[in-house]
Amino acid sequence: MGKLIVSPSPHIHSKVRTKNLMLDVVIALLPTVIVSVVFYGLGELLVLAVSILSCILIEYLITRFLLKKPSTIGDFSAAVTGILLALNLPSTTPWWVVFIGAVVAIGVAKMSFGGLGQNVFNPALVGRVFLLISFPKYMTRWEVPQGLFGADAVSGATPLGAIKEGLMQGGSVSEIMAQHGYSYSQMLFANIGGSAGEACAIAILAGFIYLVVRKVIKPWITLSILGTVAGFSLIFWLANPAQFTDPIFNLLTGGLLLGSCFMATDYVTSPMSTKGGVIYGIGIGFLTLMIRYFGSYPEGMSFAILIMNCTVPLLNNWFHQKKYGRA
């Protein structure tokens, strides 16, 4: 018999560790990843590989050589950031642009704040927005899905981009939709131009349901974002269907689903309380819609999440969960 252990209670511990949670997120992202590779082909595979590997590598290098601490890549959070970053980029992005995105995501947005749990902004989104602003050329060259073994990529606009452009040229929503031949079933089952993770709504929702069932995340943030977007766009659409897109279109296009299911629900950068989470979600939904309708960018999800990330400390301070025996 070795030395007996003495410690304060409790003496047993749940088997769920940070790495299990992160692994669950990776599993939840798998359908989206598979679908994106199938639809966008080898280019997407390259983006994914570069993004994941460089995120892990950068985190390893920073922890080991800059901070001189034990490496933290074992918790899979860098891998999650890598996957999310890749899913936020067009499949035609050159590998060195992806690498720069990873450097910004892990190096600037995550590690410079102190690593996992300390960052204010979602690392993958910071990486994405940095690339969007720095390399607009590569970041807006959307590809129409041609399949893993399809012919050469055909560049095209995303539905949101097409609508924005069309509206600026004075067209009405229904005209533009008809012109490009967009249909909702297409958007639901992935057959539409955009960054990889935007492609298939069903795959994203499957991952989201997996996370909720596994109790990795609570559904409230996602639901409040989707609800807000649906509600507000319904009002605008009813007011002027020629100028504003309808709720279903808004829910299914762009990064809304990916963002609301996987990015806005990031533990570190979302509020801890349910009440705070709902307000955070409403904020994201509202801002996304405002940028889509009135901003100069066709897509507003990334900006909306990053803006609402700033309010998280405040929301955490304002909203606490209900305590036992205290009114």
């Binding site: 304060p8 209670s9 511990h13 749940s14 769920v16 996992l116 801890m272």
Partner: protein, 472 residues
């Protein structure tokens, strides 16, 4: 059907009730017992025997040392060898009476027959006095003197007696076995407590992972209902299994849908909670004149081959119990007195059992060793798990920042130390360790404030009186 449970937080730490089919066995009487005089919350008892005295089983050896204190009885017959500070299970010095066992001679007044005495005496005061004389304390773990709990402060009335048969901690099965084997006695005990309180309703709350216990109590109740009107108001309530359902506040929430205010007592919402083992002890002391000197203990753990539920005399050295059951297993890394969630690590196997000792557990290194601390990822799982609705991650951070005012605002003092937060934390942060410190700090502040307020009130009163005297 969805069962009732408490409204917030809670975890499911697995059942591990591996000793649930082991009958309660009587353990041999050890050659020497060490009976601590501090087996309850409050002042230690004062010894009433001296070295060299001959004592019998059930004889009083300690008298209450204050209002909040309890009688201590000898659990064996023999000679008092010493009365001195002896190390308890956790290696802390406690005043202890050491008795060398000679034979097993019980006091004549104790009724040792198995016959059930189901008639409830009419005089509630007499029952209460007997409970006090019997040295009964809450056996759920808190060891609060029962007679104090059964005397509600004036102006407060009890609406419901809750008998706590949840046994929500993993591994422990002593209460389960008691309910299955001695259900009738528990019910009579509950009826006695109910009579003392003068309350119409009593609920025996049992988690639904103990179907046999629930059935047995239902059967016993249907048999007893005709015998005395006291049995009419007693009911069984199966609850959904969730830890910490057996916590007093959580149980009241689950059974009555009422919440005890912070700093308040269960009686404020009309509830009195007593443990199953306490009800049994009440039955024995009131109906059989047998004071509390024996209790059932679960000895368990995956690495311990001879799991058992044993009836042991209070003061039996732990080593004696373990040796009787085959000794400490080779791969045991931690020995715990109590459940794995709230129990205390044992360092001194020569320490004796107390009235409140409910179990001895053996855990292996793999089961119990804490993993290295990670970083908080703000997942909020601790807040979801907290049955008091606190935010452990926040309290942890505030304590580290030294912000006592914010700790008080965020109710660190409400922590019931159930361990759900530390159990859940995916980053292995020592949340409860730190929150316990925070709780202590805030409690200290609150106490100091109360003392200051009292002193100020007294000073004001004295001043007013002095002025009054002057004017007169």
């Amino acid at each position: 059907m969805a069962r009732r449970t408490f409204s917030m937080g809670g975890i499911h730490p697995g059942d591990s009730k591996i000793s649930r089919e082991c009958k309660i066995e009587k353990l041999a009487v050890p050659p020497v017992v060490y009976i601590s005089l501090s087996q309850h919350i409050g002042a230690p008892a004062k010894p009433v025997v001296v070295v060299g005295d001959k004592v019998k089983v059930g004889q009083v050896i300690g008298e209450p040392g204050g209002f909040m204190s309890a009688y201590i009885h000898s659990s064996v017959s023999g000679t008092v060898k010493s009365i001195k500070d002896t190390l308890d299970q956790a290696g802390k010095a406690q005043p202890t009476v050491e008795i060398a066992v000679e034979g097993d001679e019980w006091l004549e007044s104790i009724d040792r027959s198995d016959a059930l005495v189901a008639d409830i005496p009419a005089d509630g005061k007499a029952i209460l006095e007997k409970i006090k004389q019997g040295g009964i304390v809450g056996l759920g773990g808190a060891t609060f003197p029962t007679h104090v709990k059964l005397s509600p402060p004036p102006g407060k009335t009890c609406e419901m007696l809750i008998i706590n048969g949840c046994e929500c901690e993993p591994y422990i099965t002593a209460d389960d076995r008691t309910l299955r084997e001695r259900g009738a006695e528990v019910v009579v005990g509950a009826a006695l407590i109910k009579h003392v309180l003068g309350v119409a309703k009593a609920t025996i709350a049992i988690e639904d992972n103990k179907p046999e216990a629930i059935q047995n109590i239902q059967k016993v109740l249907s048999e007893l209902r005709g015998k005395d009107p006291e049995y009419a108001g007693i009911e069984v309530l199966p609850l959904m299994k969730k830890y910490p359902e057996g916590g007093e506040k959580q149980l009241i929430d689950a059974v009555m849908h009422r919440q005890v205010k912070s700093g308040g007592l269960p009686i404020d919402v009309g509830a009195v909670v007593q443990n199953v083992a306490t009800a049994l002890a009440v039955y024995e002391t009131v109906q059989k004149n047998k004071p509390l000197f024996e209790n059932s203990i679960t000895v368990s753990g995956e690495c311990f081959p001879h799991q058992a539920n044993v009836l042991v005399r209070v003061g039996t050295p732990l080593r004696f119990i373990i040796d009787q059951l085959g000794g400490v297993p080779e791969n045991a890394a931690k020995i715990i007195s109590g459940g794995p969630m709230m129990g205390k690590a044992i360092s001194n196997l020569d320490g004796p059992t107390l009235k409140g000792t409910g179990s001895i557990l053996f855990l292996t290194r793999e089961q119990t060793k804490r993993e290295p601390e990670g970083h908080c990822i703000r997942c909020g799982k601790c807040a979801d798990a907290c049955p008091m609705g606190l935010e452990p991650f926040l309290l942890y951070r505030l304590y580290k920042a030294g912000d006592a005012a914010a700790l008080e605002r965020n109710a660190a003092q409400d922590c019931i130390q159930c361990g759900c937060c530390l159990y859940t934390c995916p980053a292995n942060l020592p949340l409860l360790d730190i929150i316990s410190l925070a709780r202590g700090q805030v409690m200290g502040i609150l106490k100091a404030r109360a003392v200051a307020a009292k002193a100020a009130a007294e000073a004001a009163k004295a001043k007013a009186e002095a002025e009054k005297a002057k004017t007169e």
